[in-house]
């Protein structure tokens, strides 16, 4: 399991660059949240107008989203080139219980003591664009601890590390595409995109679909976060409905009495291209159709 050697590996990690480049701050006046919010607002307004003029809704983040300063030199400037997937791209690598131990889905039991913070359960299903469950596939998560600190040397935020929390989990989806993690609610944390920049609390998710074309890495957020309008990464998805798809819902049915609060979040992968056999399409759980 990854957590056993992580702490030592970090101690010996070679020199690493700072979390964000400072160049933007060196050559001009310090950029404030007000500056960034004005940019975010302007892009949002232009998108709203485009939709009003008949443009279809955008479902993905903008690759070119200047308010996230690190994206400026890291986005393709040419249009993505349409390609019909070849057969290898219509399959996904296979993962199974050889790869992931069942206990890796509980991030609160990886050390000798209980981690600090609010214990939560995050659960949901991984589905393809037609609603078919993605069974037996790998889900990976990583996150900051309750005080907003990652166990990563590049995170220099002066908030306490928690010796009982690494913040890494994995699981394999069930026959119905379901996943479930027990963890600690992560804290918000500051970053250096601009002066007084704070990321809303989030959990990083990595998922495989039934096809390599469905590969996704994203971030799950918590409902009602006041930092949403201020965050260039969340706002890089310019469509409100699309942004909302990254926000988990509090679910009292999922809450475990006297133990942990429950959050539900389903992941919908991009549509599949493959012609499915009946067994693959309906999985073990069957289907009403």
């Amino acid at each position: 399991m990854p957590q056993d050697h992580t702490a030592q590996a970090l101690e010996t990690e070679e020199l690493v660059p700072p979390a964000e480049p400072h160049a933007a701050h060196d050559t001009k006046k310090v950029e404030t949240q007000a500056d960034l919010s004005a940019e975010i607002q302007a892009i949002g307004n232009r998108y709203a107008q485009a939709v009003k003029d008949g443009k279809g809704p955008e479902t993905m983040p903008r690759l070119d989203y200047a308010p996230y300063r690190s994206s400026i030199l890291r986005h393709p400037t040419k249009s993505l080139h349409h390609a019909d997937p070849e057969t290898i791209e219509l399959y996904s690598p296979a993962f199974g219980h050889q790869d992931v131990h069942a206990l890796e889905s509980d991030l609160t039991i990886q050390h000798n003591g209980e981690p600090q913070g609010e214990r939560i359960i995050v659960a949901g299903r991984v589905l393809d664009g037609d609603g078919r469950p993605v069974a037996g596939q790998l889900v990976e998560i990583w996150q900051a601890n309750a005080s907003g600190r990652y166990i990563h040397k590049r995170d220099q935020h002066p908030a306490p590390l928690d010796p009982n929390f690494t913040g890494v989990g994995r699981c394999i989806t069930g026959a119905d595409g379901s996943y479930s993690f027990t963890t600690i609610k992560p804290g918000a944390y500051p970053w250096k995109n601009h002066l007084n920049a704070w990321r809303p609390a989030h959990i990083h998710f990595s998922m495989f679909g039934s096809e390599f074309t469905q590969r996704i890495v994203t971030q799950m957020y918590f409902p009602g976060d006041q930092l949403f309008p201020l965050d260039p990464i969340y706002q890089s998805i310019v469509d409100q409905d699309a942004r909302d798809r990254l926000v988990a819902q509090y679910d009292h049915e999922l809450t475990s009495p006297e133990w942990a609060l429950g959050y539900k979040w389903d992941i919908i992968l991009t549509g599949s291209k493959r012609t499915w056999t009946e067994n693959e399409a309906y999985g073990d759980a069957g289907d009403e159709e």
């Binding site: 903008r62 030199l73 993505l80 390609a83 296979a94 990464i233």
Partner: protein, 199 residues
């Protein structure tokens, strides 16, 4: 069946390093074992600087062109070829994989390795392919390569190293920007042009 709206991607961020890498993640087979080759390259940004915080995944058929559906990528036994690997770049932006030359998916097809690119500052993963440089005829007939002009086409073809390995660099932006792929063609991914007026 009605299509459900897809969940948006987000950047992998700067802190994946203690979570996504795992032991032998970039060794699809053991270095030095028969048939093994090194695939390596450097990831660059639009200013030509190397990117020290990118992570790649490769997915490929075996040397016969068979698509492998075997588990065990995360806990490698040193013998099972799973076809999938993950490799974070080092501080100088260089990645390496140990793998095999992929075989053609069908007779006469140009063999390639499928690649997903993740990086801090990259809002969503990018897909691309790296083709083996041999067999000009197969390359000329490849549906993707033949749809590209020569300057762009060459960004998808690896160089063969003297030791039998492959070198292939990735440029996220610029004149010699790598060709990145959209498999969906539903309009939702046509976002590279960013915040511009409706075409």
């Amino acid at each position: 069946m009605s299509k459900l709206a897809p969940t948006p991607g987000q950047t992998v961020g700067p802190f994946y390093g203690y979570a996504l890498p795992f032991n032998m993640d970039n060794e699809l087979l053991a270095p030095g074992s028969p048939g093994s080759i090194r695939l390596q390259g450097t990831v660059y940004d639009g200013a030509g600087n190397t990117i020290p915080d990118a992570i790649l995944e490769i997915w490929q058929p075996d040397s016969e062109g068979n698509i492998v559906q075997r588990t065990g990528s995360l806990v490698r036994d040193g013998y099972t070829f799973t076809g999938w690997g993950r490799g974070a770049v080092g501080n100088s932006g260089v990645y390496t994989f140990t793998t095999v030359n992929p075989g053609p998916l069908k007779a006469g097809a140009a063999p390639f390795i499928s690649v997903a690119v993740f990086a801090r500052g990259l809002m969503n993963r990018l897909f691309t392919r790296v083709y083996l440089p041999e067999n000009e005829e197969a390359l000329a007939n490849d549906p993707l390569l033949s749809s590209l002009d020569p300057e762009r086409r060459k960004t998808l073809i690896a160089r063969r190293d003297p030791d039998g390995g492959l070198t292939w660099d990735i440029r996220l932006q610029g004149g010699d920007e790598t060709v990145f792929l959209d498999f969906q063609q539903d309009g939702s991914l046509d976002l590279a042009s960013g915040d511009q007026a409706t075409p």
